[in-house]
């Protein structure tokens, strides 16, 4: 099966502030992501990663440029576009007073899922992450790694075509982090989901991944890991990252 384009971003620009005081956060950003690909969005703090995510999820809106999710324009066909999207935000977004099950059923309701289907999907996703046994525990009783797993299960509940992850492993211990990195790569390699993962941790990149290096609101590099390394004329992602994000510095 040919991989399809899950996300396409064309000429996207965005600035904070008003006419008098403008701070450009994104400048003419272009890229596409296909199903079966895991794309790591790398960039130092303030590079524009969170702004890009806020635009893709339509928390912010930009008149300059175009974002399409599976062919649906995020601004004009937002309902259909957002239905294709699963998101794991950087901040914790579970309701701590509710159980795992209640949190997931709430999400299923927001996506209009039928109750029976919702319970089936919850079981499938939680079992894949070894969390089904804990479905009746309150979110506040779980540790950070387990909460993240629930958030990933929740993002996948409605079977999206694109999974967005905004630095999901921040603050987790090494085993939890490794498990999540490996799980998400597995999801992408199953071939039916595209993953866009914002990170500043180089060791989360797998050799088969795609890379987008964002710096000061512009894309500095975009392509498979091998191509990005070749462009930077280096062997390590660390060096390539430095190459693209420190260019122009004294």
């Amino acid at each position: 099966m040919m991989p399809t384009i899950a996300l396409s971003v064309e000429n996207l620009s965005f600035a904070y502030g008003n006419k008098n005081r403008n701070k450009t956060a994104l400048n003419q950003v272009n890229f596409t992501i296909r199903t079966g690909e895991c794309t790591l969005l790398l960039g130092p703090n303030g590079a524009g990663k969170s702004t890009l995510f806020a635009l893709i999820t339509r928390l912010y809106d930009s008149r300059q440029g175009r974002i399409e999710l599976c062919g649906f324009d995020v601004r004009r066909q937002s309902r259909r576009a957002l239905a294709k999207l699963g998101v794991v935000f950087q901040q914790p977004t579970l309701d701590m007073d509710l159980s795992v099950m209640q949190n997931l059923l709430y999400h299923a309701d927001l996506h209009g899922m039928d109750g029976k289907l919702a319970r089936q999907r919850i079981q499938q996703e939680l079992e894949r992450l070894d969390m089904y046994e804990r479905r009746f525990e309150k979110a506040k009783e779980l540790n950070g790694g387990h909460r993240r797993r629930v958030e990933i299960a929740r993002a996948l509940l409605h079977q999206p075509s694109l999974l967005l992850l905004d630095e999901p492993t921040v603050g987790l211990d090494v085993p939890s982090r490794t498990a999540i990195v490996s799980y998400v790569h597995q999801l992408a390699s199953d071939g039916q989901l595209a993953v866009l993962w914002a990170s500043h941790l180089i060791d989360e990149v797998y050799p088969q991944d795609h890379l987008i290096v964002l710096h000061q609101g512009s894309i500095q590099a975009n392509g498979p890991v091998s191509e990005v390394l070749a462009a930077a004329q280096t062997d390590t992602i660390n060096a390539a990252f430095d190459h693209f994000t420190q260019a122009g510095k004294p």
């Binding site: 912010y60 601004r75 239905a83 935000f89 977004t93 927001l110």
Partner: protein
């Protein structure tokens, strides 16, 4: 691979059920919140009203057809106060939710933003209606009784005033980023709205002391919510209050939707990472 998508109406219904259900569940499981929501008006009723009973004489005025005790007069005002606090508290929870990120989850669900915000408001209003009826139940044992049809008629009116006050809170929350700022707004919004209204004293009494205050109280949307509640409780129509509350709701709601609109509102001006 995408799951079969439900028809629009079913989707809307399920989402609203989810949002209202979540809010109700949170309310009944947070016992402290339930108790504190009741204690506030009860203190006003049992302590404040009892103390002022002697000094504040009430003339006969609609909807009352006889002389009434001060406790009877302020009961509808206290019902509206419950809704005012609840409306502001729901917005507080929205500021909190936004900081916690669960507002983000709501906002990225595939439904129009106005519908999501309206559902949030209905959820908040439903909680406040529940609180008001419990309060009126206690007041009944304190011998503050209204005709049974009044209690029935009150339901839609409480929903409307709850929505209006919730929309006002929502509008404020769209302008507030940090929780700390909200505390200030509570003082600048709740107290003026409450004290410059007909909740504690009738308009003619205010007029005796200040014409300006009388004007402010007369056009205060909170006064209209109080009067709507007062007349409904005694099963009498008050079209002015009804219309005024309805219009206030629509104005606040429209402004709040604009405030939460990603391209026009405050969200984009607040910045981010």
């Amino acid at each position: 691979m995408t799951a079969p998508y439900p028809t629009t109406l079913i989707h809307y219904w399920r989402a609203m059920r989810g949002i209202v259900g979540r809010e109700m569940w949170r309310f009944v499981t947070q016992r402290e919140r339930f108790i504190s929501a009741l204690v506030r008006p009860l203190v006003w009723l049992f302590v404040f009203a009892a103390g002022f009973r002697a000094s504040l004489g009430m003339a006969i005025m609609p909807p009352y057809d006889t002389y009434i005790l001060y406790e009877v007069y302020i009961t509808p005002g206290l019902c509206a106060m419950i809704q005012l606090f609840n409306g502001m508290q729901s917005s507080l929870s929205m500021v909190y939710d936004r900081e916690m990120g669960s507002m983000r989850i709501l906002m990225v669900s595939p439904l129009p933003r106005w519908f999501l915000l309206l559902s949030k408001l209905i959820a908040g209003a439903a909680v406040s209606v529940l609180q008001v009826y419990v309060f009126l139940g206690i007041a009944w044992f304190y011998n503050i009784k209204a005709p049974w049809e009044g209690y029935l008629l009150l339901l839609p009116c409480l929903l409307l005033s709850g929505l209006m006050l919730g929309a006002l809170g929502l509008l404020l929350s769209s302008f507030i980023k940090q929780l700390e700022n909200f505390a200030g707004v509570m003082n600048f919004v709740i107290f003026p709205l409450f004290f410059m209204s007909t909740a504690l004293y009738p308009l003619w009494k205010i007029k005796e002391s200040s014409v300006l205050l009388h004007l402010l109280a007369k056009y205060n949307p909170f006064s209209q919510a109080v009067e709507l509640t007062r007349f409904a409780l005694y099963a009498q129509p008050n079209p002015t209050a009804l219309l005024y509350t309805l219009i206030a709701f629509m104005v606040f709601m429209t402004a709040a939707i604009i405030g939460y609109n990603p391209s026009k509102g405050m969200m984009s001006r607040k910045g981010g990472g």
